[in-house]
């Protein structure tokens, strides 16, 4: 369980481009300060499935990285259950956009990374098996990463993250590069899993429909520097959701598209 509060979060960095572009433009000038995030204030409740939307390069990933403790805010605070994030912790597991599984290990060994603290070998084995079964990778325990398809890799990484039993999962575009069907299935699986374990999940995506189908809360970030345009809780729409048949979702969808600068939605 994790209650997340982001207060006046700012992130700036110094542009270290080696090749000069246009030195008159302060945005691209070498050594100039680039503001990525400005005055972000957000609050997520315990056990919420939060979907963060935004145009690419708007700083959503940077915010996730700070949430996971991989990066430090320039100013402002991130509080998880009232405590400030100081660095990476196994309470908050980050699921990487590209392969975060270790390619020199089997699926079993990768999942084992999350349960190293269990000393009893038999007990540890049971836990590993349980999570491998949960993501339906039974029979692939001794396979290496390169032997698995994209969807199976994502599921394996999910199993590894869940095995830690973290308070929160942080997912950076977990469905990128998956084919349409796998994507649909993964959506469902993540939603089911969320209902089952009830942990806070913060997910970045650029697919509005992903967010509408999955999220308990939808956050829209846009602009440079990025600001929070929408942070809306979706109430009373039970899963599985049908986008076309829910007027609230349809309206929200149109609003989100408009705010991202797309006016005609098919």
């Amino acid at each position: 369980m994790a209650h997340i509060k982001i207060e006046n979060l700012n992130k700036r960095y110094i542009n270290r481009r080696k090749t000069r572009r246009d030195d008159d433009n302060p945005e691209t000038k070498v050594g100039a300060e680039v503001v990525v995030l400005q005055d972000i204030n957000l609050e997520f409740e315990d056990g919420e499935m939060v979907c963060i939307l935004g145009s690419s390069g708007c700083g959503k990933s940077t915010m996730l990285r700070m949430l996971a403790g991989f990066d430090r805010p320039t100013s402002g605070r991130i509080l998880i259950d009232g405590e400030q994030v100081k660095g990476p912790s196994s309470n908050y597991i980050y699921v990487f956009q590209h392969n975060g599984l270790l390619p020199w290990m089997t699926i079993w060994q990768n999942v084992e990374l999350g349960v190293r603290h269990i000393k009893d070998e038999e007990e540890r084995g049971d836990v590993i098996q349980e999570y491998i079964d949960m993501v339906e990778l039974t029979g692939f325990e001794d396979h290496h990463i390169y032997q698995l398809s994209g969807g199976m890799r994502r599921r394996a990484e999910l199993a590894r993250a869940l095995a830690v039993e973290p308070d929160m999962l942080i997912m950076d575009e977990p469905f990128t590069g998956l084919d349409f069907l796998t994507r649909m299935k993964m959506r469902e699986e993540v939603v089911n899993m969320h209902e089952y374990i009830g942990k806070t999940i913060v997910m970045v995506t650029h697919d509005i429909d992903d967010a509408l189908v999955m999220g308990d809360r939808i956050v829209l970030m846009a602009g440079t520097p990025a600001e929070v345009k929408v942070s809306q809780k979706i109430l009373d729409v039970p899963h599985p959701r049908n986008l076309e048949k829910e007027p609230t979702l349809c309206n929200l969808r149109e609003e989100l598209y408009l705010k991202l600068g797309v006016s005609h939605v098919a």
């Binding site: 403790g69 980050y94 392969n99 190293r116």
Partner: protein, 251 residues
């Protein structure tokens, strides 16, 4: 027998035939350019009287000692340099300064410092492998994807676990490749090293036979060096297929 074995064998036989024809047509004497039959005969002669075995073992001993020493020191040092930026900044220019100096340029100093016998030869082989292993390990460690270190931090790895679970397995494929390259270099250098300060080894056999004008023995030395070089490469190639290095070939 499939094509992979037959084809090289056919090539080899054809080359030997051309060699024989050229030698016979020109009427060169055995002291200048022995033909293949003389060479093969001499190989047999040196095998049966034990000379070849003695020299081969001496050379292999030196290569093994120098090569292992370079690997045992060079690879861990390369890992340290690849992980700790300050140490790399301090030592990298020195390494790059020493690296292009041919191991053969160390011969005079090696002999003065270490006398004659095995030590200077082992030292030269060490010098020929050390920098290549050091630099390639360093580069391999530096190019490990930062994601793996973030995973390590996220899952609360200890320093020891970062080394054993991330750094070492991540660089094994690159290290196997550079071991394969350096063992060939070591085998090249041992011949030169044995021409200066020792009384045994294949390099010594070649030099001594030249002094005795036995070009057929010189050729025996060369043939043995080639054959063992081929064998070493085959062994290193097999090493690249072991389980923990195999994932690297699929990157």
């Amino acid at each position: 027998m499939n094509r992979r074995y037959i084809l090289p064998l056919v090539t080899f036989i054809i080359i030997c035939l051309i060699w024989d024809v050229v030698v016979r047509a020109n009427g060169w004497s055995v002291q200048v350019f022995p033909g293949p039959l003389v060479a093969i005969n001499s190989v047999w002669e040196l095998i049966t009287n034990g000379t070849l075995f003695k020299h081969t073992v001496a050379s292999l001993y030196r290569v093994t000692a120098g090569f292992y020493l370079a690997a045992l020191i060079g690879i861990p040092l390369g890992m340290i340099l690849g992980r700790i930026k300050v140490i790399k900044d301090a030592f990298n220019p020195l390494i790059q300064f020493l690296r292009p100096i041919s191991p053969l340029a160390w011969i005079p100093l090696a002999v003065i410092w270490l006398g004659i016998g095995d030590p200077p030869a082992i030292f030269l082989i060490f010098m020929s492998c050390f920098f290549t292993l050091l630099v390639s390990t360093m580069i391999a460690v530096e190019s490990i994807s930062p994601i793996y270190f973030q995973v390590a931090a996220n899952f609360g790895f200890s320093r020891y676990e970062v080394i054993t679970k991330i750094v070492i397995p991540a660089v094994i494929p690159e290290i196997v490749t550079s071991l394969r390259l350096t063992v060939a270099i070591a085998w090249l250098v041992v011949v030169a090293a044995e021409m200066i300060a020792v009384q045994s080894g294949l390099g010594y056999l070649i030099l001594d036979s030249r002094n005795a004008l036995r070009m057929d023995y010189v050729m025996v030395g060369m043939i043995t060096i080639g054959a063992i070089g081929l064998l070493l490469d085959y062994i290193m190639l097999r090493l690249a297929r072991v389980d923990c290095a195999f994932w690297g070939s699929l990157k």
